[in-house]
């Protein structure tokens, strides 16, 4: 692990540059565009091959939109999503529909709600064979074998493929969802709140499964969640988002040991820890997350920031990269940058 993490920079799987996903707000009789909801605003991000990249933030911070924008399930407004390392890299946003559809076998998604992610009218076999047909598996016997193998890979008996989704528990459905994503042998999977809807005892099963599958199939995950304890457990690197912007990116250990951004600090302190010996001081945050329709000028976090300075109100901070032991720690804050320089 440690070996290939050192040269991880050479193995970039996805490079996101200046990505903006803005939803137009239509007003009036003629549906004039009156403004934009800036769900994801000017995001730069690298996803390295073979890593688990955690994306955390509160609801409405744009983490799910970011994941779906990378997969082009939501049409971004502007920017680049370059898939592939170095020379091979191609911009997903420049591709036509056929090319994009071919790419769909390389990147997949696992959804949050196990109750709506399977078609209730179809058996598991019928639901799962669809992508196989789509990617050219003609014979039914072959598909049956493939699906049996996939179900076994997620620790479910192969006979389950003849059953309907309502016969399964939430955890089982989530595993079927994972098996479906694996069916086209992807290399990159976005897990969108994949364990958030599950009971705590089931959560651990699915988390362990995801880790195992990653090793077995050499996958890269983008793990989107609001739960920092889960993200700490599973991720190699963590991205913290606030109001459509990335505020901090660092390796998991580094982020928890050396938290820099005031928002990340407040977020970490707000989380109830299931260890009674660790009750600690909270950093109370005032107010609510502002609406992304008219975000505050300057740094998006400044109205709630306990360390807000004059320039924060006027100018949005640029991401600054600190390098520690050869690993980058990116932070987007005037205060932190002032302290360092």
């Amino acid at each position: 692990m440690a070996e290939n993490r050192k040269n991880a920079a050479n193995d970039t799987l996805i490079r996101v540059r200046g990505l903006k996903t803005w939803y137009p707000i239509k007003k009036g009789l003629f549906k004039r565009t009156a403004g934009y909801v800036k769900a994801v605003d000017n995001v730069d991000l690298d996803v390295y091959k073979g890593e688990i990249l955690g994306v955390v933030g509160e609801s409405g911070c744009g983490k799910t939109t970011l994941g779906k924008s990378i997969l082009q399930l939501i049409q971004p407004y502007e920017g680049q999503v370059i898939y592939g390392a170095g020379e091979e890299g191609r911009d997903l946003m420049q591709m036509n529909k056929q090319e994009l559809n071919q790419m769909r076998s390389r990147m997949q998604i696992v959804f949050q709600d196990p109750y709506s992610s399977l078609n209730p009218a179809f058996t598991i076999f019928k639901s799962m064979q669809e992508p196989l047909i789509r990617f050219g598996m003609k014979s039914k016997r072959e598909r049956k074998e493939k699906i049996a193998g996939l179900l076994q890979a997620v620790n479910l008996p192969a006979e389950y493929m003849e059953r309907y989704p309502n016969e399964f528990s939430g955890g089982q459905r989530q595993r079927i969802g994972i098996a479906r994503a694996l069916s086209v042998s992807p290399e990159f999977i976005v897990c969108d709140e994949a364990v958030s809807a599950l009971d705590v005892s089931i959560q651990a099963q699915v988390l362990k499964l995801l880790k195992e599958l990653k090793e077995r199939y050499h996958l890269t995950y983008m793990f989107i969640t609001h739960d920092l304890s889960v993200v700490e457990y599973i991720s190699d690197r963590i991205v913290v988002m606030y109001l459509g912007h990335i505020v901090e990116v660092a390796d998991t250990e580094e982020l928890f040991a050396n938290t820099l951004h005031p928002y990340t600090k407040a977020l970490l302190s707000a989380i109830p820890i299931a260890d009674i010996n660790k009750r600690r001081k909270r950093i109370p945050l005032q107010g609510d997350v502002p609406s992304p329709v008219n975000p505050p000028a300057g740094c998006p976090f400044h109205p709630r920031c306990p360390e807000c300075r004059e320039e924060c109100r006027k100018e949005a901070p640029k991401p600054a990269t600190l390098v520690k032991d050869g690993r980058a720690h990116i932070v987007c804050c005037h205060q932190v940058q002032a302290e360092i320089s």
Binding site: S229, A274, P284
Partner: protein, 337 residues
């Protein structure tokens, strides 16, 4: 009344649901006491009956369900009120709700009526329970309540509609409403599950304040062990309709006696323990409520289960002062307790 601090006392409560022409024994003998100035947490997974317990106390069980046996005593204004015998929609129960006991719900956005202003809805509660005589007085009280809850610009906010509030503010307005009559008991059913962590922290501060200033007893329903560790004075762990273990929060979290509690604690990632921490998932999944195990409900998933566990549900055992456990093989036995 052996202890004058006890506000609500639930004894051997059995509740059945009769949906879909089937009988689901949701609560199978739940007993606990809720004390003044105490935060009691009920934790458990979905379907374990924690919300049903809360709703039984509030007399808010759904239509096709009923209390089969057991009792709920509410000690209020020197009287002993048997909630289980009151008519669910009767006058007495209605008067008790709000003035004697109040409830806040999981989804604050749907718990407020979208067609009335927030101020109007708070006024309504105040007037109904005779906390305010005139409309003007009620208006002033509503503003004060919102102010107490830390909502900025309360004069303006009372005139706004719920959709103009954020989720956190709605929940604060709900708490304001619940606390308007200074109830003895506050039942909070997953009050922060729909909210973000930074907002959740604000709501918890508020609940702690209420407890300290008003002597309110709080029954907090949650599935989050983190919340338990942060807030609870006492904890009851529920599994498939039984309280399997209850006691002081510290004792339960550090020295769990029931295998389920231990398994639950081992299966959740804890912030700050890093990437290397070991998770031990509980094997299998919760049983079908219509096809329950015969004996101990946890036996099929329990690593300590023996023949004995498959035949009968173990009774309540006090294993140490204030620490109850329902297990034949309580894990503290070896420690000489």
């Amino acid at each position: 009344m052996e202890n004058k601090d006890v506000v609500v006392s639930v004894k051997d409560l059995h509740v059945n649901f009769y949906n879909n022409n089937r009988c689901n024994r949701v609560l199978r003998g739940v007993s606990f006491d809720l004390k003044k100035r105490d935060i009691m947490c009920i934790v458990g997974e979905s379907g374990c009956g924690k919300s049903v317990t809360a709703n039984s106390i509030m007399g808010l069980l759904p239509e096709l369900s009923r209390i089969e046996s057991g009792s709920i005593d509410f000690y209020y204004q020197g009287r002993d009120i048997r909630i289980d015998r009151l008519k669910r929609k009767g006058k007495e129960m209605r008067e008790l709700r709000g003035s004697g006991m109040a409830m806040i719900f999981q989804d604050p956005m749907t718990a407020l009526n979208p067609v009335f202003t927030v101020g109007y809805q708070i006024n309504e509660a105040l007037m109904y329970h005779n906390q305010a005589k005139t409309k003007k007085e009620a208006d002033q009280m509503a503003v004060q309540l919102l102010k107490d809850m830390g909502i900025p610009l309360p004069q303006q906010r009372v005139k706004e509609y719920p959709h103009q509030f954020s989720g956190g503010m709605c929940q604060r307005a709900m708490i304001a409403m619940a606390m308007s009559c200074r109830p003895k008991v506050l039942v909070a059913d997953e009050p922060t599950t729909a909210l973000d962590v930074t907002i959740q922290a604000q709501i918890f501060e508020l609940m702690l304040e209420l407890k300290n200033n008003n002597d309110t007893a709080i029954l907090l329903i949650t599935h989050d062990m983190g919340v338990v560790a942060e807030l609870a004075d006492r904890v009851a762990v529920m599994y498939m309709g039984n309280i399997v273990e209850s006691g002081e929060a510290r004792a339960i979290l550090t020295r769990p006696a029931h295998p389920y509690t231990k398994a639950l604690l081992d299966s959740i990632p804890v912030l700050g323990r890093g990437k290397g921490q070991k998770l031990e998932p509980i094997k299998g999944s919760t049983p079908d409520p219509y096809n329950r195990p015969k004996g101990c409900q946890f036996a099929p998933r329990c690593p300590y289960a023996t023949k004995e566990c498959e035949t009968a549900m173990p009774g309540e055992q006090t294993i140490e002062e204030g620490h109850m456990c329902r297990c034949f093989h309580n894990l503290l036995k070896g420690e000489g307790i």
